[in-house]
Point group: D2
Chain length 260, copies 4
Amino acid sequence: VVVYLSRKKVSEGDNVVLLGPDARKYHITVQNGSSKVKGVGVFNGSRIIGQEYGSRITIGSKDFFVLRPSIVDKIETLQRKAQIIGPKDASFMAMHCGIGPGSLVVEVGAGSGALTVALAHLVKPDGKIVSYEMREDHAKVVRRNLAATGLENFVDLRTADFSAGTDVTDADAVIMDVPEPWTLLEQAVGALVPGGHIATYSPTTNQVEKTIRALREMGLVEIRAFELIQREMVVGEKGIRPSFEMLGHTGYMTFARKVL
Amino acid sequence: VVVYLSRKKVSEGDNVVLLGPDARKYHITVQNGSSKVKGVGVFNGSRIIGQEYGSRITIGSKDFFVLRPSIVDKIETLQRKAQIIGPKDASFMAMHCGIGPGSLVVEVGAGSGALTVALAHLVKPDGKIVSYEMREDHAKVVRRNLAATGLENFVDLRTADFSAGTDVTDADAVIMDVPEPWTLLEQAVGALVPGGHIATYSPTTNQVEKTIRALREMGLVEIRAFELIQREMVVGEKGIRPSFEMLGHTGYMTFARKVL
Amino acid sequence: VVVYLSRKKVSEGDNVVLLGPDARKYHITVQNGSSKVKGVGVFNGSRIIGQEYGSRITIGSKDFFVLRPSIVDKIETLQRKAQIIGPKDASFMAMHCGIGPGSLVVEVGAGSGALTVALAHLVKPDGKIVSYEMREDHAKVVRRNLAATGLENFVDLRTADFSAGTDVTDADAVIMDVPEPWTLLEQAVGALVPGGHIATYSPTTNQVEKTIRALREMGLVEIRAFELIQREMVVGEKGIRPSFEMLGHTGYMTFARKVL
Amino acid sequence: VVVYLSRKKVSEGDNVVLLGPDARKYHITVQNGSSKVKGVGVFNGSRIIGQEYGSRITIGSKDFFVLRPSIVDKIETLQRKAQIIGPKDASFMAMHCGIGPGSLVVEVGAGSGALTVALAHLVKPDGKIVSYEMREDHAKVVRRNLAATGLENFVDLRTADFSAGTDVTDADAVIMDVPEPWTLLEQAVGALVPGGHIATYSPTTNQVEKTIRALREMGLVEIRAFELIQREMVVGEKGIRPSFEMLGHTGYMTFARKVL
């Protein structure tokens, strides 16, 4: 019998998801002692400690499953200072930039750290995200979010201005979520290994156009821009259909590669 | 100065991309000696060997850049036996299943191995993809594609019938690209760690509905289905607009998690 | 100078739109005397009567434009009993069914009358919509909505069960917004002129599939199904982008033509 | 028994559609005598003359249905000089501009006349399309297409430059499919009745943005821009799914209304 990974049990201090009726999720940090969670009620953390992940517990009259937060859970429950880059766009950019275990990635404009968390998850344990965030208030949130998701060791967060230059060289990718990415392309290219990938994330088509024209002028290759429209399918009594609610526009993703 | 990765030069036997004018790509294996590539012409591989990745070489009257194939290049140039799962869907499923470095993933229905390649790229070097493919002709293609992409060490390819059961337990995710995934859910759940993720990939809504109803009946949680519609943006003289050509439907992705 | 139409001034009893700041619209029936409209304030209708359509009036501290309701306004402000068929789908179905001035159309399942209003607008003054609505409470709403939009003369509303048969023959189109349109195809075909069009409107893919299979079995031709995804574009300080809010799924439209 | 319309039989000179196996359509003008149609074969038109529309005839070994061309058929088979405005966009613009029987519409930039045909179909018999097309070669195509569709009496086609001004006043709508619609807004507004609608059709977001900013500056109201993404659904052995082929981007539609 092949067993690659070992089962884990809930320990004190773990961040867990309580999945309740109606698919509602409650993110808590497990503490040994009584605590009150809005929507869940009052319960003693000792009832969860030592349980296997995936177990069911009853609190009051409701049943909850104890789950380890998935990376999507982590992204979607981050503390937010600004619009975040969600799972559909984070995973697409990572794939198009060839990011995987061991990658060295420069992130410019960490925002609340949603993309930072997604990327750190993908490059750990040997890779690194060097993340630039000029605003101290945003950086504070990123730091808190990295700690909450346990990914802080894979991120080198810098409250610095990327436009002033960087000491990073030979990065596999530079990903920028800033209002004017076309002004930072020279620094981005400087930080990249030949063949390395640039990605920018922008809500407006004006930004995409300016970025593409600047990338062309600088002689980068494989310049392409995409957006992903996400639809959820729902199953009810009468059958299956796309959801009446729909995620609207998020952002355009522009890609390019550095050559010599 | 921080330098995490080292630059690499082209060696004999490397799979490289020659990026030509008009953004045409030519995938070749570098050989020391003269070879003829359709669309490129005749050239001697020794001219590339030892060059830095990202360099430009002139063959005949055309200029080409020598690039390391990206993971997207690898997926898009695989030898194909059937419709493949492309980058947008592969990365979304991986993210929603929490797949990253070290993950143990069971794949059911490898097809031509496109998803296998994408997943192996994400779990290496410590994770593993246990991939089931019943058809020997498909498995042969997968084996060739894994060798071509250098990811064979991270995949345990089995020409076996997953419905007969598996010795894998505690997998982080089971991803199935088969016509009737709802018939294999018991085996899939058996292979998963509690809290582990199931994903299925299906072109029709009938398949999605049957899968969702079966997942509900079996008591799995966080059951959701999505599709992603990809649009490319193009920049011309008159400005920017979505492409007149559009990638049509690919497949629906259905997700669920195992609980105890 | 060519003048085809005459300008109109506001008369007592007219249904008008007051377009206020922030693009808010208020639909009122003009009365000679003081009235209070929520969001507008108290004003005397005599101030509007005799004004040209398109004029601006000041009520309290706000400016309003006096507009004739467009057909889209009419559809979007109908009293509703159920989900309505909106402008994008109504106009597409009308076009695909070749509906225009003088058309004879059978509508099955009037709902709140949104499609009825759109169709009556297109076939007037010589065409006719024969509209079946089994539920008396819905028919009441349709009647009120037709009166409010001034289109009642072009609709023959019947609180009757279309499955029991119809005396209409040689209709140009039969459009059905009912849960099980495939059970009514025989009656629909019977009501159509050879070459006439059938359209059905359904939220789920199961309904579309059953309808298409039944249409094929009955030997109808040009069987096709579509959906339209509507995106709004917004212009702000930073440029132009798709709206972050998006209209989700509405309904699938299935079409076919009768042959002999 | 209610009979609103009379059945029609095929006459010499009629434009008919022969609908063959595999849903292939052949547009022919019925002539009394032998003719050869590519894909159909050789047949004598006298075999069709006098037949009811919707009849089946056998030519060679294949069966064909004789159909009156629908308005969608007419639009899709026009002779083309440029990209046309298709049914989904033509019907949406007409609805958003409130166009119906009797409307007076100014069209600027007729192109090949696809929108002209769609609009003429909707305003006949009492309305009028005043259509401007500067290029004589395009106007020639429009004239031929109007004749072929039998709608020439409802269109006043002018090979003139709309920017030089128009004698039309009090139009219900002005619809422009030109590269720089923002340069013609003054003339468009001059031609409109108060409350009348402007619509512009543009492939790029730059054009939409410029148009919207100009409309705002001129004080027009109800300024909105949309695009429609069309998906076809197909039913096969394994069930129903969106088509793997998809209509890509066509054009953005921008709307506004004139006030005093």
